[in-house]
């Protein structure tokens, strides 16, 4: 399968990445090479095969709905790029 420039721009948008014009074809080539590698999977018969999502086929464990973590907001916000009064700051979203 060939990945063209339009597909790259669409994927980049979904992945929230900015791809500069001069880099588009580089990513197109690399993704094409990766897809050619994985294309070999299509020759394998997987009818009625249950997919593996956890290698041990473990199921999600539930626990009691109790507070187990203390509030460490100040510590976590100390490493944020920009905060004010306990809030994370981003550029204005609503005019």
């Amino acid at each position: 399968m060939e990945i063209d420039n339009e597909v790259i721009l669409n994927i980049a948008e979904l992945a929230q990445l900015e791809v500069k014009d001069e880099a588009i074809s580089k990513y197109a080539d690399k993704l094409t090479a990766m897809l050619n590698l994985v294309e070999a999977m299509q020759t394998v018969n997987t009818d009625n095969i249950e997919p593996v999502s956890n290698p041990l086929d473990a199921i999600q464990v539930m626990r009691d709905d109790e507070v187990t973590e203390e509030n460490l907001r100040d510590e976590y916000q100390a490493i944020a790029p920009e905060v004010d009064a306990g809030l994370y700051l981003v550029p204005r979203v609503v005019e």
């Binding site: 990766m34 070999a40 394998v44 956890n54 290698p55």
Partner: protein, 494 residues
Amino acid sequence: MTDLHSKTIKEISADLEKGAYSSKELTCHFLERIERHEPNLNSFISTFPEQAIALAQQSDEKRKAGSSGALLGIPIAHKDIFCTKGQRTTAGSKMLENFVSPYDATVIENLNAAGTINIGKANMDEFAMGSSNEHSAYGNAQNPWDLARVPGGSSGGSAAAVSAGLCAAATGTDTGGSIRQPAAFCGVTGLKPTYGRISRYGIIAFASSLDQAGPITRTAEDAAIMLETMAGYDPKDSTSIKQPVPNYSANINDSIEGLRVGVCKEYFADGLDRDIEAAIQNAVKELEKLGAEISEISLPNTKHAVPAYYVIAPAECSANLSRYDGVRFGHRCEDPVDISDLIKRSRSEGFGDEVKSRIMAGTFALSAGYYDAYYRKAQQIRRLIKDDFLQVFNDVDLILGPTTPSPAFKIGEKSNDPVSMYLEDIYTISVNLAGLPAISVPAGMAHGLPVGMQLIGPYHSEAKILNAAHQFQQATDWHLKSPALAGADKTGGS
């Protein structure tokens, strides 16, 4: 004191106990070696000399006050993917260049509690994506056996540091071979335990259904000592195994008479370096001499492992790495014009090319219209690979083969051909897809470079794997070989 750096944890621990030297002296010895050899090796992203010496002093005082323990006062390195409280934790990425972790990973908590000395954070491929360390934003680590060659990856800094005698052991993580392949390339021992045996809490996520931490050490016996402390159920990791941690050293001295070892024929197909093949055949004979019963086995779906992995790992990474948005932590671009610009530009500036490629490949595989053809298909192939192993383990106790098809390659040799680098992981990747434990141990030399032998076992068979690896190391001396480093001191210790 000149040969301290080639001692095992087991030996150091006995020396410390009888007072042959102190942890402080030992730590200073390693720090001195780091200072001397790091300009050539670049195996660390950060080191903490003052903190390490202070910790070593504390451990010496604890020992005087009656404390003991196999890891008390042992200087080790941590792959820079483990969050360490109050220290920069970069995951080899510019994205986390200024990220100081507010908490410790569970593995770090466990090892700190056992008294290990954190000597520094080891270099790695960015977000653990790579097999050569060339994808580190901090320059690639070099292979101590030949500085023009890669140490392997992604835990390349950890393996290089242990191999070069810059620390007694190191932690690593293994998503598709990232402990075993660098261990093989650098001539050290690397263990990837069963998926879920060691908590993933506080390990910067790459592909959550594959990621597993483990030790990189000089010997299998040291790996057993490290694993005993690293492993354990952790309520903070919902995939962590709720089973008690066995004493992995308890049966390590048992004979392997009658151990059924399967040699996987698909691992000796085209593409395997002839000298590596010869080394592994010799290792098979060695195990046979020790009483192992050797048979040939087949894992017919082996060839599908790399394709399935390069769907599953990128898909999971694209989801995991969506958290880097320039808002809560990590790199933020200058003067964003709006929220979309903030997120896109922060991500694009913070991530390197390989990471961006994998995020895009994963995003594509998960996107509408392609999910069944790629992600679901890969997860089904994963079942076939797992079933192959389960079938074979009805007849054998362990599976043996080379860890890598070729020895350490030259820096830059595969940079323009990422797919050929992906294929380097052909023997290790299927083990992660199935979630099995496996070890790489030094088993010979090819073209003057170390060769790794991989032993794969059924789920929860770490004790058996370590027993076989230890017995192999009792009969051979490949694990005792160390690289001749430039800048050797005049007393002969290099």
